[in-house]
Symmetry: C2
Subunit: 471 residues, 2 copies
């Protein structure tokens, strides 16, 4: 617990109204999109970069843990203040500072909500592709911290490909600028790309310059049903062989589909025997879209699709996306706890991963609906569990088995959510001791005092404080 | 000068045939695409990653400078062994290890020549977009070290966007793997993106996993002439406003055009009064290309183009690109020395940069033909000089004035070539002391002994050895 002196110093920096110690606030800011919670000692809501610098300086001086937080929608406990200390909410830095059509950039503060940025740039015919599922609530700062992806990442890349430059505060309070407002920029080390995806452990982003592109004028959407994940994967291969690069290429497995059908009151969404569904979207000029969607349908038919639906207008397009959007609420009704794992495997290994997921579910007696981004090999493998100690233990061993399989297939523990708190203990499955030691030296280069978002990414050492518990 | 013992140890690692001490070899490997030369004490040509690890271990142990080298086509002295020591040529590691169509990846050794990779992946309908001008001679390892770009970077991004994973050797000989074979991967810090573009100062890449995409089936090319850089820039803005994202968008100024005309024996390539030429290429499906090239022509016409040529076949396309390809040999005939600066400014600042370049040329009495990638704001500003002390001094002050202007316009010192040796003294124009100190700590995290490619990126300190001279 930090002293009243520190609280008073924080108040002198950001104003008393923006420092909160009451328990409801501390608990509310101690959570994210996972079921983990750890209340911070203090919630501080700065309004400017220089206030953030002063708070950071204070924390380094007094060795107080400092945890930056965006909108709290993360799925790896990255914003949960595992070691207590000061929770730094960036919600008040929420301005779109500049939208420059000549330079094709937007300059934003970290608290801007992702969908607000989408709306602002699309109003002038521009496009910011990253589209994490949480975009209506997530903040750009959080997207940057986790290098957020989304369905469009297969064609357009993840957040990293759209961050041209950052203004950030180091843990000691020093302000830095990285990158700039150009796509090409090879002066010095690329600290921008190092900070993007560093889960708030290296620096606190106070402003970002984002790359925009012209908005593709047209979109077409197709949904295809398959009797096996293997034939869906063949469909994906065939459409890539036809040289189509879809803007979205989503796979939903039979268990996920069943959950949605049940959630929607027993309505049958798919032909009997459906084991996989592909949702495919192409975008570009009218002419390109017309040609490509034909290739998509042919590819699915050749791969053995049992039914193919094409949206004829925006309403039908919404209807096709409905299953995808209903997945999260549907899964929440199946079981109270969801171990949401966003593993990633090489694209060609998706059938093997899905077979392994089925086997792991059977072996551990857990339901594991799986869906995700087939083009990227990035699947959301949801281990559903009852809220009992025994069920959680089973889920935990299923999770470890999943990660071991993913690494065996040449994949990675996480494609979108980050390691954070929830996967820190598995880091050694993917990285050698030499690699982890190197990452720790990089962390030390930014944060020698070790105050910024401690307890994240790296497996806990003996000296670490106890980790927070699931709620 | 390093001892015979070290040479003998190197011979025991890679075999006597692959260690060279003769002066012609040392001089040949002491150069790159600049006019700088510094002979190494020893040239070592390893054949395997484990040999590289053993050489690195030896160098760290004996504090011998170790300089990795690809094909020596760099334009910033990055591979010039400024402090002597061992020059490690990676030319023997030149295998395309795997070309995996299911995963859409190629696994390559660093010595693979860029155009050989292009040919191999295009044979199976795939595409590796990065296309530095030197692609017929440059190596993938060098492209990775410098984060190479090229005309296609505006639409497709630079080398960084296509490197999914690396195998590398740290200066102490430890082998690491970074990233993997998936686009999405947010486990741990992104050391892949940190090593790409680090100019051979952090680690020695021994193998890279590269992302491939479907090859766009069609291409169309247009050339448009303008009476000012401003109207060419308006043409670029108009085609982006028409939501066209060209695969190439090259700008060539009047001075560069005049040089090519002179080089080709006085042939008139452009209408009288031409001050700028745009070379625009779109790619994608047949239908998309047909529609987009129409938008391109309209945009150029509306911006006041005095003539627009469209290629009707591959031969005509080659002819349109001819001016661009003849630029380098043409410039070489104007003056013996070329200060080749690949500065980058925000896209909207191109007219201002071109005006500044003209003014700087006038003020310093130097000819400054300029061309480059208009979509990226990445221009090659060539300060042409006679080989006299006085002319070089004038060119040096023109160069400094150029860099100051670029930074004032919100740009960066280098978009493609890197800082290397030639721009190290200017690093402080772009970065603060805090930022440079942070980069040095990152360097130290990888290379505590400071043996890997010393004298690059960072401005020389008093303790540094003397820097090499232009030839």
């Amino acid at each position: 617990v930090i002293s009243s002196d520190i609280a008073a110093l924080c108040e002198s920096i950001v104003g008393a109204a923006h420092v909160r110690r009451d328990e409801p606030t501390r608990l509310a800011y101690g959570t994210d999109g996972t079921s983990y919670c750890a209340a911070p000692d203090l919630v501080v809501l700065p309004g400017r970069a220089d206030e953030i610098a002063a708070i950071a300086r204070l924390c380094t001086e007094h060795l107080v843990p400092l945890v930056p937080r965006g909108a709290g929608t993360g799925y790896s406990g990255g914003a949960v203040p595992a070691h207590g200390g000061i929770l730094l909410s960036l919600e008040r830095l929420n301005r779109i500072v500049e939208l420059n059509q000549a330079d094709l950039v937007a300059v934003v503060e970290p608290g801007v909500i992702t969908s607000d940025l989408h709306a602002a740039v699309e109003r002038v015919g521009l496009f910011y592709p990253p589209d994490p599922a949480s975009l209506a609530r997530s903040s750009i700062g959080g997207n940057i911290a986790e290098n957020a992806g989304g369905p469009r990442a297969f064609k357009y890349g993840t957040t990293k490909q759209y961050v041209l430059g950052l203004e950030a505060v180091l843990p000691n309070g020093d302000a830095i600028r990285t990158g700039g407002r150009t796509v090409k920029n090879v002066a010095g080390y690329d600290l921008t790309d190092l900070i993007v995806g560093s889960e708030g452990t290296l620096a606190i982003v106070t402003r970002a310059t984002l790359r925009l592109i012209p908005k593709p004028p047209e979109t077409a959407t197709v949904r295809a049903f398959f009797e096996s994940v293997g034939s869906a994967a063949r469909g994906v291969d065939r459409l890539l062989a036809a040289r189509v690069l879809p803007a979205a290429l989503e796979l939903i497995d039979g268990a996920s589909l069943a959950a949605v059908e049940w959630h929607l009151g027993g309505v049958a969404l798919a032909p009997p025997g459906t084991a996989a569904l592909l949702l495919i979207e192409v975008d570009g000029s009218l002419a390109a879209v017309a040609a490509e969607i034909g290739h998509v349908e042919r590819a699915c038919a050749e791969a053995g699709a049992t039914r193919i639906d094409r949206a004829r207008d925006a309403a039908e397009r919404e209807e096709l996306w409905r299953v995808r959007r209903e997945l999260s609420p549907a899964l929440k009704q199946i079981a109270p706890i969801k171990f949401n794992n966003d593993v990633v495997v090489p694209k060609g290994k998706i059938p093997e991963l899905c077979a392994a997921v089925e086997r792991i579910g059977r072996d551990h007696g857990v339901l594991v609906p799986t869906f995700g981004h087939a083009g990227d090999g990035n699947l959301h493998v949801n281990i559903m569990v009852e809220d009992t100690r025994e069920a959680r233990d089973r889920a935990a061993s299923a999770e470890r088995a999943l990660f071991e399989e993913v690494i065996r297939l040449g994949g990675a523990l996480t494609g979108e959510h980050g390691i954070g708190l929830t996967k820190a203990k598995y880091l050694g499955l993917q990285f050698s001791d030499v690699e982890i030691a190197l990452m720790k030296r990089v962390k030390h280069a930014f944060d020698p005092a070790g105050i910024l978002n401690p307890g994240k990414i790296f497996p806990a050492e003996d000296s670490d404080k106890s980790t927070p518990q699931r709620r």
